[in-house]
Subunit: 363 residues, 2 copies
Amino acid sequence: VTALDELDTPSVIVDLDVLERNISRMADRARAAGVRLRPHAKTHKVPELGRLQLAAGATGISLAKTGEAEVFAEAGFDDIFLAYPIVGAGKGRRLLALSDRLRLAVGVDSIEGAASLGSVFHAARRRIDVLLKVDCGYHRVGVAPERAVETARRLTDLPGIALRGIFTHAGHAYLAASPADIAAIAKQEGEILAATADLLRSEGLPVGEVSVGSTPTARVAMSVAGVTECRPGNYVYHDGSQVSLGTCEIEDCAMTVIATVVSVPAADRAVLDCGSKTLSSDPLRPRPGGHGGILGRTSRIESLSEEHGVVRVEPGETFRVGERVRVLPNHACVVSNLHDRIILARGDRVEGDWTVAARGRVR
Amino acid sequence: VTALDELDTPSVIVDLDVLERNISRMADRARAAGVRLRPHAKTHKVPELGRLQLAAGATGISLAKTGEAEVFAEAGFDDIFLAYPIVGAGKGRRLLALSDRLRLAVGVDSIEGAASLGSVFHAARRRIDVLLKVDCGYHRVGVAPERAVETARRLTDLPGIALRGIFTHAGHAYLAASPADIAAIAKQEGEILAATADLLRSEGLPVGEVSVGSTPTARVAMSVAGVTECRPGNYVYHDGSQVSLGTCEIEDCAMTVIATVVSVPAADRAVLDCGSKTLSSDPLRPRPGGHGGILGRTSRIESLSEEHGVVRVEPGETFRVGERVRVLPNHACVVSNLHDRIILARGDRVEGDWTVAARGRVR
């Protein structure tokens, strides 16, 4: 297969021209801001893509799960941060095995969680680097800034634990009403974390890394004085939600899905062969707005079942059975996780494919 | 690993006692109703599980995608119906290759779609069996009952096409407000399809199979006179939505997810290590109600991100970091599709695992 027209559907396509531009733009931004870039590879889960990020200047990668780290370590990545509160002796033992081969750190936000890892490392006369997660307003995980000193102090007292720094994630930016609101959230993300770092240092606690991250907030947050590292993930692909948030334009979206119209049961309804098992059922952010845009059309996927994408056909547009369309997913990170391989293209030419090697590594 | 306690999390568990009971109950119902049972294996995508269904009396299986049929054919299944409007010469060639090895039929709801398959089979001097999809009120795919005669007549005129019967799916039952409403929808599902079959026959059109299907509607729809086959899928596992719909009780749910509490950042919030990459973001049916129940608790997963299940902790309940819980997913069929393997258990004892062999076969 050398042309997109010949691919069976549904197929997930990544345009390499757009991907490369996204990678170099974010690397340039981090360089200009004077911060380290540690992209979150949960978006793509593809070692080959991670290597492009490193080649563009990233100093390491972020991941969420121990199993993802095992895949990337096996592929030769030697600097990994698990930006997630990893908990439990079982995971601790796997991390201990990994830590021989790479510079490793993990997120923590509780003494109990950190102790479950520290005890494993301590028994091996080792220490694991941790970054304390600070809640900058998302209210998912992380300690409130006012509790950071106490928690950090107790962390440094734990056997087997070495405090490398602090990190945060402003996930609430994905619900922001406007780009101005996102910028305000991003500024706060950077400022809260930098102020927390100052406070910890004034108490004699070691804070090497001050790490922020998310694609919508990266540009502003990484520019705040005191921030040392940024961890955006989605920017490699972008998606419909990033367009809606104003983070990028449609032409900055590297990932699309080629689908076939399999049914046109009514004038206002067409059905594509991509459902929630291809696109996921993640909603459009910041406001719900269907389950996928269709390039070149105003009609959108209005609802999904497992293998059906039901398009509400706007007046004046037509869909024919057998016709192929390109769908812009709402959320690229979860689409990656549904597919074993992605197809690489430049324009309409197929350039190869990549295995999504860390797909499904939820443990 | 011989006990569930020793499993790393998150892990998808299928209790074999419950699974076997679900399989035999549905088989008994079909036998009592005098219809063939052709379970939709998209729910589990596991050949070993499909063989249990056949052993209990199923006459064949249903699937949605050509790639799924290829996996099950390779595993020895010899009677497969693709209950989906398959479209395109590329898929037609793959179906032609399969049809040498098994009794195969596919769904159609358009002349264009059927012609794209028929031309491939006709060129090989073969015919492919098709079932015409009839819309019984779900308004997703399928022809309106009043258009069935005209479409069926044109189908029988197409080269390479053999009309085996008609089928429908009452997906709107998943939005029904009460068990009584589901029963009414199910009755209509059976009656509309049986009446359509009578009409086609009165016009001299061949209708061998009259096939209904869905777990909530199966019991009532399969009992309607004239129905010959039933295609429920979800019943092997059941899930939170089936409980909410009144289709089953919690103890009839064979699939659960073992998760670990990784963070308790506030008194009313706990975070599990299962997010949308483990549970999917499919909503609870028939009404939204969080993203997963927790066995033995009233607290539910209120929101998901990719690897976080955020629990709203109800007053009086507590969650501790490191504690393990059992989550009842909203929708088992999409959970299956996220995981390469599922763990088999009886009670707390691990009995082995199955590969989800047809996972991700969306093409």
